[in-house]
Amino acid sequence: MTEDKDTKKDEQEDKPIGARFEEDQPYVMPGIRRFQFFTNVNDRALTKNLNRAAMLGIASMLAIDVGKAVVNKNPQTIYCYECRACYGTQDKCPVGIAFQAELVVSARVADYNRFLRNGGLKCIRCGNCQSFCVQYLNLPQIFGTMQLQTMEALREGKIPKSMVKKAFEKGLINQAFIDEVAEFLEMP
């Protein structure tokens, strides 16, 4: 573009850019406008508190996400990139678990369903997958902790039978837990 054209445009831009914003809006620093826009739409919400509540919701969900990992004694899970490089373990996993990252994430938030579905109770904590992790997280330890928690939840009746049954039928429970799981499933 030539200098001439640029100068012309420059003249145009000296005019107020009211089209973008309410006329009475002070023109703060350039680049801050995007945030002004969000403040503007803020005012248009049914209630201002709606957006505040949403922000509060997001913040608390993040806090719960991190807090749960700590409370569940699995703080290492916070460092998981969820990059799935650990899937490279493949046939080096003696029990054929394919999706280790799923187990890590489920351990972080105590998602029993995801843990069972991906064969968490089948893992024998051999540690073969650890070297595939880009963070070298202690995966067998993470899985072991979650296994104990899952069994605990099972005893306390926090996991519905249907979920456990599916895992059981697919052979996703290892020898260490199978008796107790079978007993649980036979319970009325």
């Binding site: 420059d10 145009q12 089209a19 406008r33 739409v41 709606l50 949403a54 969900m61 990139y81 998602d111």
Partner: protein, 562 residues
Amino acid sequence: MELLGYITLAIFIVTMVLTLFRKINLPVQTVLVLVSLVNLLIGFLFRIASDGFTSAILLPNEMIGGIILHPITALLGGLFLAGALEATKGFDALKVIIAKLQKSPIGLAGTLVIIINLPVIASLPCGRIIAAALLPLLFSFGWEGGMGLLTKTQLVVLIGAFTRNAMGSCGPSPIGGVGQIGEGFLGAFFPTASDGILRSPQAFSLMIGTAITALFLKIISQKLYPNDVTLRDKPTTIGFEEEKKITKIKAPFRGYLSLIIFVASLLIAIFQPFGKMPVQTVLVAGGILIILFCRASIQDLMGGIILLPVTAMASGFLAAGVLAATGGFDALGVILKSLSAIQILGVAGMLAIFVQMQTILPLSCSRILTAALVPVLYLFGPAKFNLITWPQLAIVMAAYMINATTSCGPSPLGGGGTMGEGQMRAETGFIKGAYTFASMAIMAPIAAIYMKFMNFTVFSPENPEFSQNLLVLALFTLVIIGISGGMMGIVSRSIGKDVAKNWNLQLIYFLISGGIAGAVLALAVYEIKILQIAQGFIGGVIAALLIGLMVPKTLAAVRRAA
């Protein structure tokens, strides 16, 4: 459960599209939180009905599992360090260095090309880290930023191209990049896949895509939206004093020191010389060193943090978490698979649409959909549906992945590209056309071709066809760039004052390019088979139509109407 998936998916897509078109006039975070709540409630009721209360009560946990902490903390780490650099005048030190480099043999142009490609060279696991740190520097190259090296047009191109490169660099990153999701899955067949089977196709097409983005921004975007960048050029009459102020930039010692700490932390984050360590830890440690040695206050560092993209990403993950928990993504997989049964599309056409999925629906972080869609793509392969073979899957994965990882760039929902738009003082949506075009028409087909002709031979080096394949790759790349560039020239020349006509023109251009991209993908996957190439073309046109429709006609006016 199945019906539930369709319901939650429909609610999610409809609300997202309405928000993209600004029909829902609320911040995206609020929308996403509301969508999550509604879907959660519906899921809760369904679960109670089907599996009982014990199952329903576990649903919130499953939703929170959708939050991927890594890009959020990586972004916070990057912003933290950028704040430190800013407060300690590290950027001034960088400006002095650049002013010196400019006089070196590589000149200003060479310096800028290196800066633009810095994100892919560094390949950090989230593009925002480097963008947050360096975008303020790029801004300073212009008149308003103080250095006065570049005109407004040049600055728009520079910032746009840099941001494009950054918001794709999480793809080839070997330290927790998004591309590793695909590599992890391909590891099921290719033993060395997790060592980086997708890295070079992504890096290669990203560099070419960056160049095309720059061209598009220069000759099309600035014509389409001439009044939507409020940067100012250097006035023609400028006082001697002011001129002196521009040319004389000085930096204090602590600025240089903080810059050294910054560069060292980046290098440690990338090369991990002290063993495996999260990038975030390195960045925060760098920030703390800057506080200690360069006299920055914690407040300065916190000042660098912009919460908007952080909250947008987090709410996106929440919404995705609910979708995953309620079977929404399974439903999407079924819908996509059934597309392949449509005669006119076939598997080739469906795949041509699939690889563009995240360009069609660009969310604030590519991981939101990638984590859900890559398993679907994996199932299309021999692992379940057997629609394609392993090598074909790898080709499609390469094309899909580059588009996925670049998708936070054009996202108006708090995506990474909005950081660039903010820096170039442009309206939201200014870069969308250029970014989506580069992803759709350039990056996806080039990544597929690269995978087909280079990676399979590189991964088996004894193959004598290596140099021949190199030639084929070069030819294809040139043809793809040639066609796009030529058509871009025609579109650029035809742009006039009529907004509707301009938009139609752009749409037609998108359709043709999308069709070609789909055909090239089909060619890479199926080789010379006319039916599949035609199906790929049709799939590509459909994807391009959906992408093109999302590109705004005007920017400021959209807001006026809203």
